[in-house]
């Protein structure tokens, strides 16, 4: 009887949720590449829009999957595939995961996944932490010429402005998606 119960025990993640995470990871990656291609490379507008789209999609994802671990799993999958297929940096993977775990902890403390404010704050904190950690990694790479970090920091700050705007566009997107019946919460 115990064996039967063990077999029918529901796993923490169901397949639908895992598929949503995989598809969002793909959408985020393709959107970033698309913005970079359409925007003509590195310029403030491209940087702003790339970050805006990233946080917008992250907010939509967390609205759709209100579950502890969604953000970290999304980041892990995205980083793993980026490193394997698109040449993403491997040094940044632990930093990104750590930022994700801290942000998810904060979401739980502030109000849980049912609170819109907590979700937006979690995404904002994740993005800030990951950018700070990336700056730390950049400092390690550029430590002989630390003044170069000033330029990197300027770019990162412009990107973060886009991320903050993205929190609100994400909320707007969720309203539209709810209206269309795609997001049910």
């Amino acid at each position: 009887m115990e064996k039967v119960l063990q077999k029918t025990k529901q796993p923490y993640w169901n397949v639908r949720e895992l598929v949503v995470i995989g598809i969002f990871a793909a959408v985020v990656k393709v959107s970033s590449i698309l913005v970079a291609l359409v925007g003509g490379g590195m310029n403030p507008a491209t940087l702003l829009l790339k970050n805006l789209l990233f946080t917008t999609l992250l907010v939509v994802l967390l609205y759709k999957l209100r579950k502890f671990g969604s953000l970290t799993l999304f980041l892990g999958v995205s980083a793993l595939i980026s490193a394997l297929l698109l040449g993403g940096s491997m040094v940044l993977i632990p930093a990104s995961l750590l930022a994700g775990i801290i942000a998810e902890g904060l979401i739980l403390v502030v109000g849980g996944y049912a609170s819109t404010f907590a979700l937006m704050l979690g995404v904002a904190v994740y993005d800030a932490l990951s950018k700070i950690m990336s700056l730390g990694v950049s400092w390690l790479m550029l430590r002989e010429q630390p003044k170069m970090i000033i330029m990197v920091a300027v770019f990162v700050t412009i990107g973060y402005v886009g991320s903050v705007i993205g929190l609100f566009t994400g909320r707007y997107f969720v309203k539209e998606l709810r209206h269309a019946g795609i997001v049910h919460h």
Partner: protein, 258 residues
């Protein structure tokens, strides 16, 4: 991005394609840590030379040239900015040529090893590797969905862009800069809607097939390290050790004023 379209049938065979993806992952991961510790130009130059040779085995010359030109442009831009900052405040000037070279060499090693892995990894290879890594199903399923969905999403984007063009809108860098809201509405909202619909359909289909209810993933193709993999790993280890020796020797000679 072209690596995404690489399939088992159309990809050109290069020596790197025969290497196990785990070997390439290990080389990239170790290289990204090693370059942080190296502080001498000769040690990093050795790794740049070796990693360039490694990248050249992919024979994707066009992509390699584009990547190198992009890195050079970024570096020239950084140096110009440093010079401009030095004009404003002399304290901001670059201290020496070697201190300008070191970050550049570090980035080159990383780009070479990562590009080599990205340009020689096939989608089926990645999926087999993910299985070989014995990842739990909750990590394997989203990763596999992402890998499989990327080409289909690119096709969706292409179709949406064509539909936008037929309606009389044009998508180019200027439109993104001058009308970002309109570009987002025309391009990204349909992509998001389509992706969400697909995720629902795919999720239901996977659930109906019972995916995720078994902890054991059956393996269609088992992956094993070959002698070439062991050889490449041994060679890379030797190069990393040698670069550390050169680094220590250079530091010692500088310290002793040689």
């Amino acid at each position: 991005m072209r690596a995404l379209y690489t399939t088992n049938t159309v990809a050109p065979e290069t020596p790197l394609h025969h290497l196990d993806v785990r070997t390439k992952m290990t080389i990239s991961a170790v290289a990204s840590v090693v370059v942080i510790f190296l502080k001498s130009v000769p040690a990093l130059a050795l790794l740049v030379a070796a990693s360039t040779l490694y990248l050249m085995f992919t024979r994707r010359w066009k992509i390699i040239i584009i990547a190198y030109v992009a890195v050079m442009l970024m570096w020239v831009g950084a140096v110009i900015c440093m010079e401009l900052m030095a004009l404003v405040s002399p304290r901001m000037a670059a201290s020496s040529l070697s201190s300008l070279m070191l970050p550049f060499l570090r980035s080159l090693v990383l780009i070479n090893t990562l590009l080599a892995m990205a340009l020689s990894s096939r989608i089926q290879g990645i999926l087999t590797t993910l299985k070989a890594l014995r990842l739990p199903y909750w990590l394997y399923i989203p990763a596999a969905v992402m890998v499989r969905f990327l080409p289909s999403l690119m096709e969706d984007v292409r179709q949406i862009s064509e539909a936008v063009k037929t309606k009389g809108y044009s998508l180019h860098p200027a439109s993104l800069l001058l009308a970002p809201r309109q570009t987002m509405r025309l391009l990204f909202v349909p992509v998001l809607f389509r992706a969400l619909r697909t995720s629902d359909e795919l999720g239901i289909a996977a659930e109906l097939k019972g995916v995720g209810y078994s902890n054991n993933i059956s393996r269609f193709r088992e992956q094993h390290f070959s002698n070439v993999d062991y050889g490449v790993l041994a060679l890379s280890t030797g190069l990393f050790v040698l670069s550390f020796v050169i680094n220590a020797y250079t530091k010692l000679s500088t310290y002793m004023g040689m």
